[in-house]
């Protein structure tokens, strides 16, 4: 193939476009931002948090989930495929017998749900679960 000036220009533009897209924040970054807002940018470790959710949710309008993190002061739940990733934040008071809560959430589609717990010592732990959603729950 003969590389003339026009072809070089086209190639160059395409290359630049690819680079620009690569530099754009990834799709999940809204979730990362939301998590960073909760943790204040601290490192988030694994373990110590349990997130119970169904593997397959037929109806994304009500997906039952349970979070549990012994010794946590707060647990925040995020859904990375929703238009707004934040789901709920549970703060446990002195009379909470355990750091456990169950609720029902909306999921727009198949995605990861992430639970981030703030421990008493100020560290953060997370757990995530992939939930397959048959019918989305955001009223498309």
């Amino acid at each position: 193939m003969e590389l003339n000036r026009r072809k070089m220009l086209v190639l160059g533009t395409a290359g630049a476009a690819v680079t620009a897209f690569g530099a754009l924040p990834a799709f999940a970054s809204a979730t990362e931002d939301a998590i960073a807002k909760f943790t204040g940018g601290a490192d988030v470790g694994e373990g110590g948090v349990e997130l119970t959710a169904p593997e397959i949710a037929e109806n994304g309008n009500t997906v039952p989930i349970e979070v549990s993190a012994p010794g946590a002061v707060a647990i925040s739940v995020f859904a990375d495929g929703n238009p707004t990733p934040a789901v709920a934040t549970f703060k446990f008071g002195p009379l909470a017998a355990s750091q456990f809560a169950a609720t029902r959430i909306r999921l727009a589609g198949t995605q990861d749900v992430i639970a981030v717990a703030e421990m008493q010592d100020g560290s953060f732990k997370k757990a995530s679960a992939n939930i397959k959603v048959t019918i989305g729950g955001c009223g498309g």
């Binding site: 709920a88 703060k91 909470a96 029902r104």
Partner: protein, 109 residues
Amino acid sequence: MAEGVKPRVKVPKTASAGETITIKTLISHQMESGQRKDDDGNTIPRSIINRFVVDFNGENVIDVKMEPAISTNPFFEFEATVPETGDFKFTWYDDDGSVYEETQTVTVG
């Protein structure tokens, strides 16, 4: 906006001192997420309950901040310690400024 809001809570009537009890709550509320559109393509404005607080004799049990991703008729289940006879006070805060309250007495015998 929010009509027919009815809180329902399930709390045991009696407990022994220091016992852990499971509490289930549900409040009927449409929890409009602000993502849906009506037949004319206009976005239906968000109208949700954004906070749910449970106290026992003035001491906090759980404080939940809710976002639009919570389902219609928000349901919560959690565990509380009952140190003495007293009242559980449940409070839901609506986006429109309404506050829904419910009280349940637990007797320690």
